[in-house]
């Protein structure tokens, strides 16, 4: 696939906008730079039916950059063309959000939800409105309401998990991430996120669960560049090794596993730095050595 730099180098505004749109890249400055002519100078008609997504794209980018006039102009064009469109209605709400008139936005989203109760995007805007206002419990509430209706929306589960993490509800966040792991068991990032939550929860059981999910993540994404898993695995193994609440029988077998996983993670990390950034390697080795010094089982 073509790289963004190459597309930008060519300077074809339509192609740049199309590339950013299709790849969902939020490069607002570039979008405004290349798209404002289509909106401001009325060149959009040359785009054919591609004009409307471009207007929307420019509108969103203009909101990002605070270019109120440009955003208004783009929205005006879209409202003129699609007066009854829910999609445009959402944009109106977004504009109100950007201007800080949350009440107006809430009103807009409310009316849209009533008119289009199955439109998930309006629900999501409704959640994000609460989040924008800093009302995290309300956002969690609205997100839960949403998930009652759209249970298989992974991104919503992820959002809810992040909201719970923000509010310190680690157990609930872990539940959300488990839902994500269930829906996408082969996605390593879900395992990492879940493992981090378990690791944060602490305790031998949770740490072991964290180690499991780190290990699954390493399994799904083999290689030495899954650094978050590797570091997580090191720290989890370290934490487990230092955990004192365990029986002698468990201790023996688990220590071996723990040591092996720690060694694996350490080896991969070393190989990664040796390959990618050799200057950092001594520092990493010292750090990992420090972790290993604390526990004899990890020094093997």
């Amino acid at each position: 696939m073509e790289e963004l730099d190459q597309v930008l180098e060519r300077g074809d505004s339509v192609a740049i906008l199309r590339y950013l749109r299709h790849n969902r890249i939020r490069a607002s400055a570039e979008v405004v730079q290349h798209g404002q002519d289509f909106v401001a100078k009325g060149k959009g008609s040359s785009l054919g039916i591609e004009a409307w997504p471009v207007y929307e794209q420019v509108f969103l980018a203009a909101l990002d950059l605070g270019e109120t006039l440009l955003a208004e102009r783009a929205l005006g064009l879209l409202r003129k063309q699609f007066p009854d469109s829910a999609r445009v209605g959402r944009l109106v709400g977004m504009q109100a959000e950007a201007e800080g008139t949350y009440a107006v936005a809430a009103e807009v989203y409310k009316s849209l939800r009533e008119a289009h109760p199955t439109d998930p995007v309006v629900w999501k805007r409704w959640v994000s409105l609460a989040k924008a206002q800093g009302d995290l419990p309300e956002a969690i509430k609205r997100c839960n309401e949403y998930l009652k209706v759209f249970q298989n929306d992974s991104s919503a589960w992820q959002e809810l998990a992040e909201l719970y993490l923000l509010t310190g509800h680690l157990g609930k966040a872990a539940f959300c991430y488990e839902e994500l792991v269930l829906s996408g068991p082969s996605i390593f990032s879900h395992h990492v996120a879940l493992a981090e939550v378990y690791a944060a929860m602490g305790g031998a059981e949770s740490l072991r669960l964290a180690r499991k999910h780190y290990a699954q993540s390493m399994e799904l994404h083999q290689g030495d560049d899954n650094l978050r898993s590797l570091y997580g695995m090191c720290s989890t193994c370290h934490a487990l090794a230092r955990c004192t609440h365990k029986s002698a029988h468990e201790d023996k077998s688990d220590a071996a596993v723990n040591g092996a996983l720690f060694k694996l993670a350490v080896d991969k990390l070393k190989s990664h730095y040796r390959r990618v950034n050799p200057s950092m390697l001594p520092l990493v080795e010292v750090t990992l050595l420090q972790q290993a010094i604390g526990d004899a089982s990890l020094q093997k």
Binding site: I49, W52, P53, F82, S85, R87
Partner: protein
């Protein structure tokens, strides 16, 4: 977003449709309705002997008795109409092998004079019929050639004198309502009505030795003609014959002291007259003297005799004067030195003026047209020099091609006296050269049209596949090159899908279906080779003059195709061989001499193409030429393109030998002496490997077999050989109605002999398989009743030319020739005239080799019959079935259809009087047509028709439509790449006709006539529009949903 996906699909589908639209035109198709549109007919004239310009019309007459009118303005030289004057009585001629004969043997009506009657707009010809020596006057309407009337005057008069050698003389004198026809032989004058040709009055014979001129008199009441001739005393005499008078009035007798007829007997005395005021007549008589001086006399003056002009040599071309001066007469004289001199007689004095300077060597050709005199020249290459009469200035030169034989000229649209200058470009020059190419050119050397009249003298025809030369290859070196295949623009291709095919679009498709052939015509007397393209209405691809063979004038040429080349072997002198490229006409190789001493008659030379041992295409073509003159020892020449080796072919058997090429080469000699009898001797060519007699000469031949006709009095009248291509592609069996198979006797080495004898039919020898048909038995009974009167009998004998055996023999009684024969696969067809029953009969013989029962061929059964693959296999003769049919017209020639794979039903082509071709289904001529009715179930299943003696001539099966091929004598067929289609070339004396045929009447591999072009185009159009519309609609819907 879903909508770009829809959009892409719609764009893709539209693109596919468009690609489909552009791809279709390259898928060529042939349509049934092409039939009847792409055939062409060439009307020829033969050697042109008279021509006359009349306004925009050009009257032409040829020495083959054809009279035609052409337009001087059209570019293709096509004739507006052509009429061939028939002979009063048919002349029996000996028929040669294949039905061809030399043109000089063919009698034709001589056209003595050709004029246009200006008032009645009738083209009039005075003719002499050589069969009856009768004089004829013919009148056709100028515009459409309808014969208005014709009068024949029987040759009843006594010839004028013994010294008259040219018995063809005759003159026409035209009056507003009457025509005077003067018989130059008898001196009789007939005045005929110009309206209907009824005889008004016959003038008494005039006492003249030879009539040399006739001048119509049209002044006041003295309507009549002045006839000028040579009297018995050697003096020029002039008679005034008044229309409706009772006697010929001798008005003047002029004696020339040293005059007389010149030795070569051409009409030597010429009279020129102008009507003058006061009912007087100015008359100028010219007579060449024996000492190349010229005498002239004025008939009008008191003492005219003895006046002499300065000698300028022998008159060779009469040039009538149109000098407007009254009481004077003038004429232009071409001397033997080439000078043109105007001699004027005014007030009793002769004046002379040089119009064109002498030219040496000059052609004895000159013509006057309006204010110009044209003279043939060869100084700077063949051409025509044009001089102005007024001042003798040369005003131009018209380039010719070859040595000229005839010259005529005319002014476009006629000429009036007041237009004397500035009309050079309107002068039209018509020339005919020694190779009979008729060329009409303008004064500024622009070609108006060109006609190759030597195509009327075709000796041999080859039809070969046309493979256009590679791009960039030039066709220089040949003349008359016409662009062969025009490249068609894409628009035309597109149009060809939507619209029904047009003749112009056929040029694109024809080469793909093998419908474009090159027709090679070898024209005998002119030794020219002309290549015609079968498409484009028979466009001339190239022409080539063959060199004259040293030691013999008018040598006979033969041509053989060898791959992409044609080999021409000249059989005069010591022989000459030339290899030419068929497509371009370029000479590839030649052998200046074949060492044939003394010159061998063409019938004793056999040509065998020998396959090259190396596979490379650049190796020269090889040929073995066997000279069979000496019956005891044949000699052969081996030609390999660059050298010619020769040696004797021994007549002995050798122990071990190598065969030449893939198959052994057999040849035979068939001697048919004119005294009667025929003997066949067969030989085999081989290379002895054990003991080569000479290292340079590897070929030997050995006698294989011999056979002869039982009676030495039998005269062979016709022979026929099968076409090897037909035998090779023929299916080997014929399925019967019950599933059994009749195995055909397919032998490429057959010869059929037709011989006649005027003897009472004798019992046939026991060794010969003789059957008689019903009619012949009837004939024998009749013959017995006549008390042993001699009966003319036809014997048809089939022989094997490898083993020399007689395979079958049949006799017919009361038969007269000509006999036409055609040997196709296992089928012999022959036609003859039954003089007892007064009808044309067609005999049909089929040969079968065996029979396989219905259950004889299966998974577990194999027939006991062993297929015969050699002429030496077994002694049993094939089973022959014979039947006779009646045909309602005299038959001129026989042919058969030939297709690429031999799957299509065979059909017979019958050329019948008066020059048409009939496609006759083979089933109609099947000897197995059952005579017992009703037909059995198996006979019905096989599709056998009940026997009916009369063969129908159904107009839809006449492939020449409304064309008549005058003197049709040969039919040539060639296969195309389409199995259903055969190409046919019919060659007549004066006509060529080419067409496509569907022998099974069902063009099964062509699109039907009812192919709905409009519907297909509409569906295509609607689909394209629909896809565009639906694409737009889908786009709109996708947009609506995306922004809902």
């Amino acid at each position: 977003m879903p909508y770009p996906c829809f959009r892409r699909i719609s764009i893709f589908v539209s693109f596919m449709y468009l690609s489909f639209l552009f791809l279709i035109p390259s898928v060529y198709a042939l349509y049934e309705e092409d039939a009847g549109k792409f055939d062409w007919h060439k009307s020829l004239l033969g050697p042109v002997c008279h021509a006359r310009f009349e306004g925009n019309f050009l009257l032409l007459a040829s020495s083959y008795g054809a009279v035609a009118v052409a337009s001087a303005s059209n570019s293709d030289g096509s004739l507006l109409w052509r009429q061939v004057i028939p002979l009063a009585a048919p002349v029996a001629l000996p028929v040669r092998d294949g039905g061809t004969m030399d043109k000089d043997e063919k009698p034709a009506v001589k056209v003595l004079e050709l004029v246009l009657h200006p008032q009645k707009r009738l083209v009039m010809a005075l003719t002499r019929d050589p069969s009856t020596a009768a004089l004829g006057v013919w009148a056709w309407r100028l515009f459409d050639g309808n014969l208005m009337w014709h009068v024949t005057v029987p040759a009843s008069g006594v010839p004028l004198g013994k010294r008259v050698k040219a018995k063809e003389g005759g003159f026409l004198a035209l009056f507003p309502d009457t025509v005077g026809a003067v018989d130059g032989e008898t001196g009789e004058i007939y005045f005929l009505s110009a309206v209907d040709g009824t005889r008004i009055w016959k003038a008494p014979a005039i006492e003249l030795m030879a009539v040399t001129g006739v001048v119509p008199v049209d002044g006041g009441t003295e309507k009549g003609v002045v006839v000028v001739g040579e009297g018995s005393d050697g003096k020029a005499q002039a008679f005034l014959v008044r229309l409706g008078g009772e006697k010929a009035e001798k008005i003047k007798s002029v004696s020339f002291s040293d005059g007389g007829l010149i030795s070569h007997g051409t009409p030597s005395l010429h009279a020129f007259a102008r009507p003058a005021p006061a009912r007087s007549l100015a008359l100028l008589l010219l007579s060449p003297s024996s000492s190349s001086s010229l005498s002239a006399a004025d008939m009008q003056l008191v003492n005219p005799s003895g006046a002499k002009a300065t000698p300028h040599g022998v008159l060779s071309s009469p040039i009538p004067s149109s000098h407007p001066s009254s009481l004077s007469a003038s004429c232009l004289v071409l001397s033997d030195s080439g000078a043109v001199v105007e001699i004027t007689l005014t007030q009793g004095k002769f004046m002379q003026r040089l119009v064109a300077p002498p030219s040496s060597p000059s052609l004895p050709l000159a013509f006057r047209a309006g204010p110009y005199v044209l003279r043939g020249e060869e100084n700077q290459g063949p051409g025509v020099e044009v001089f102005r009469v007024v001042d003798g200035q040369s005003v131009g030169r018209v380039r010719g091609r070859r040595s000229l034989r005839g010259l005529w000229a005319g002014i476009r649209g006629g000429w009036r006296e007041e237009e004397k200058e500035g009309r050079e470009s309107d002068l039209l020059v018509l020339t005919v050269d020694k190779a009979e190419t008729l060329v009409l050119q303008t004064m500024d050397d622009r070609l108006v049209w060109l006609r190759e009249e030597c195509l009327a003298d075709v000796a041999q025809v080859l039809i070969v596949d046309h493979r256009p030369p590679a791009e960039g290859e030039k066709r220089s070196g040949t003349e008359d090159v016409t662009e062969a295949l025009a490249t068609s623009p894409l628009f035309e291709k597109l149009l060809s899908v939507v619209l029904p095919p047009s003749p112009s679009s056929s040029s694109v498709r024809d080469p793909h279906f093998g419908l474009t052939k090159i027709l090679l015509f070898l024209c005998a007397p002119s030794s020219r080779l002309i290549a015609l393209l079968s498409s484009h209405g028979g466009t001339i691809l190239w022409t080539r003059d063959l060199p004259s063979v040293e030691g013999r004038e008018g040598a006979r040429w033969r041509m053989v195709q060898q791959g992409d080349e044609v080999l021409l072997v000249g059989e005069g002198g010591e022989g000459l061989a030339i290899w030419l490229d068929i497509v371009t006409g370029h000479e590839i190789a030649s052998l200046p001499t074949l060492g044939l001493t003394p010159p061998a008659p063409s019938s004793s030379l056999l040509l065998f193409p020998i396959a090259s041992s190396s596979s490379s295409s650049s190796s020269p073509p090889r040929l073995l030429l066997v000279d069979t003159r000496n019956a005891t020892g044949h000699r052969a020449r081996f030609l390999d393109g660059s050298s010619c080796a020769q040696g004797a072919l021994g007549g002995r058997e050798a122990g071990t030998e190598e065969s030449l090429g893939d198959r052994p080469i057999f040849y035979h000699t068939l001697s048919t002496p004119s005294s009667g009898g025929a003997s066949l001797q067969t030989y085999r060519l081989f290379k002895p490997s054990s003991a080569p007699s000479s290292p340079n000469w590897p070929f030997q031949s050995a006698v294989v077999g011999a056979s002869s006709l039982p009676s030495p009095s039998e005269l062979v009248v016709s022979t026929a050989y099968p076409d090897v291509r037909e035998t090779m592609t023929a299916p080997s069996s014929h399925p019967l109605g019950d599933g059994a198979l009749l195995l055909k006797y397919l032998n490429p080495y057959l010869v059929a002999l037709a011989s006649t004898a005027s003897l009472p039919p004798s019992p046939p020898p026991a060794s010969l398989n003789v059957t008689r048909d019903e009619g012949s038995q009837e004939g024998r009974r009749q013959g017995g009743d006549e008390g042993g009167k001699e009966v003319s009998t036809l014997y048809v004998t089939l022989m094997d030319t490898v083993s020399g055996r007689v395979l079958y023999r049949v006799s017919h009684f009361h038969v007269q020739g000509p006999v036409r024969m055609r040997l196709v696969e296992n089928w012999l067809i022959y036609s003859y005239w039954n003089c007892k029953a007064q009808r044309t009969e067609i005999g049909s013989i089929t040969l079968y080799d065996g029979f396989i029962d219905r259950k004889g061929l299966g998974l577990f059964t194999s027939p006991e019959f062993k297929e015969r693959t050699s002429s030496f296999d077994g002694d049993a003769s094939p089973v022959a079935l014979q039947q006779t049919f009646l045909f309602p017209h005299p038959i001129l020639t026989l042919g058969s259809t030939l297709t690429a794979r031999g799957i299509t039903t065979k059909a017979l082509l019958v050329g019948f009087e008066p020059g048409q071709i009939l496609l006759l289904d083979r089933r109609l001529l099947d000897p197995r047509r059952p005579t017992a009715l009703p037909l059995s179930k198996t006979e019905k299943a096989e599709g056998l028709l009940p026997y009916a003696p009369h063969l129908p001539v159904l107009p839809p099966h006449v492939v020449t439509y409304n064309h008549t091929l005058h003197g049709l004598h040969s039919l040539y067929t060639a296969p195309s790449s389409l199995e259903s289609t055969t190409l046919l070339l019919g060659v007549g004396d004066l006509d060529l006709y080419f067409t496509r045929l569907y022998p099974s009447h069902k063009p099964f591999d062509l699109l039907p006539d009812t192919f709905n072009h409009v519907l297909v185009s509409l569906v295509l159009l609607i689909s394209v529009v629909g896809v565009g519309f639906l694409g737009k609609a889908a786009q709109a819907k996708a947009l609506r949903e995306a922004w809902a």
